[in-house]
Chain length 152, copies 2
DNA sequence: AAAAACTTTTAGGCTAGCCTAACCTTTTTA
DNA sequence: TAAAAAGGTTAGGCTAGCCTAAAAGTTTTT
């Protein structure tokens, strides 16, 4: 059983997850900076998330995830990684891919997410196997380059 | 110059565009039903859109798009169609593809949208040309079927 | 250990979108 | 054509997220 939290709450959970896995706990400031909001806003969200039992948070203390919060964050992160990889396969520039993966990772139907996931797995797993994907990707790349040239 | 309207405003414009092209004008009720909101909410948005010169709207009258509104609606619809097609290529069931295309069509970076578009064009345009795409798609389809079987 | 610098919290405000309930207007129908 | 039904509008409210400014707490520096 996963979510039932808002899109924005998912963002907060994912960011906390990332910061915590880097340095053990997250400060309000880290969260605020990562999400481009003011500290006051991050505090407000922490209160909500604590109330929903998703984060451990005490005034002036570091923030960590509860098991339930972590569970959600992991699902969200997995989705995020799929979309990021996916956009890279589609030859979207890396910085933009990172930004837009955030947007994709919300709200989509589980079946849609499943197909995105399969697409990525298919492409990645085929790198060693028969050459179809490689050739296909090569063709796609060339197609894009050609489009790029005719644009200028 | 296209947008600068909210995601939700884009939804309203696209729906109005669709209804108008079907029957010449849109009633508040049509809009409200299509977007799953109450009539009062649709009226409120019409006032905003009128104020931004995107719709022609008078109390108790039918709604149509201004040239500017139409311009935006067309861009939004084009994006929508690309994503719909895209999800179908990814073998997402049609009804879900339609629903989720709505979600994809917002907020993405122009470069990302460009790559989605190219992907779709590449796949579609290659149906007559060399067999790479076809074979590739065939392989992807088989991969998915296999996954599907091992799920049950 | 007090001052300075930084971080966090609180309080009060704002906007976008949505809702309900009550009230108009327009259309249909007996 | 008047009454009923359907459709549209207004007013007042609500929530999620975000903000600023000022207060309060914590950490670092001297």
């Amino acid at each position: 059983m996963a979510a039932q939290v808002s899109r924005r709450a998912e963002d907060y959970l994912r960011i906390i997850y990332e910061v915590v896995s880097r340095k053990g706990y997250a400060r309000i400031k880290d969260i605020a900076i990562s999400l481009n909001v003011k500290p006051a806003t991050a505090v407000e969200m922490m209160k909500k998330l604590k109330h929903e039992n998703l984060v451990n948070y005490e005034k002036y203390g570091g923030v960590t995830l509860t098991p339930r919060g972590k569970e959600i964050a992991e699902i969200v992160k997995k989705r995020h990684d799929v979309f990021q990889k996916f956009l890279e396969i589609l030859l979207v520039p890396k910085d933009i891919a990172s930004k837009d993966a955030h947007i994709l990772e919300h709200q989509l139907d589980p079946k849609t997410i499943l197909q995105f996931t399969r697409f990525v797995e298919f492409v990645v797993s085929s790198s060693e196997r028969p050459k179809f994907v490689e050739r296909w990707m090569e063709h796609f790349r060339k197609y894009c380059e050609q489009q790029e040239r005719s644009k200028i």
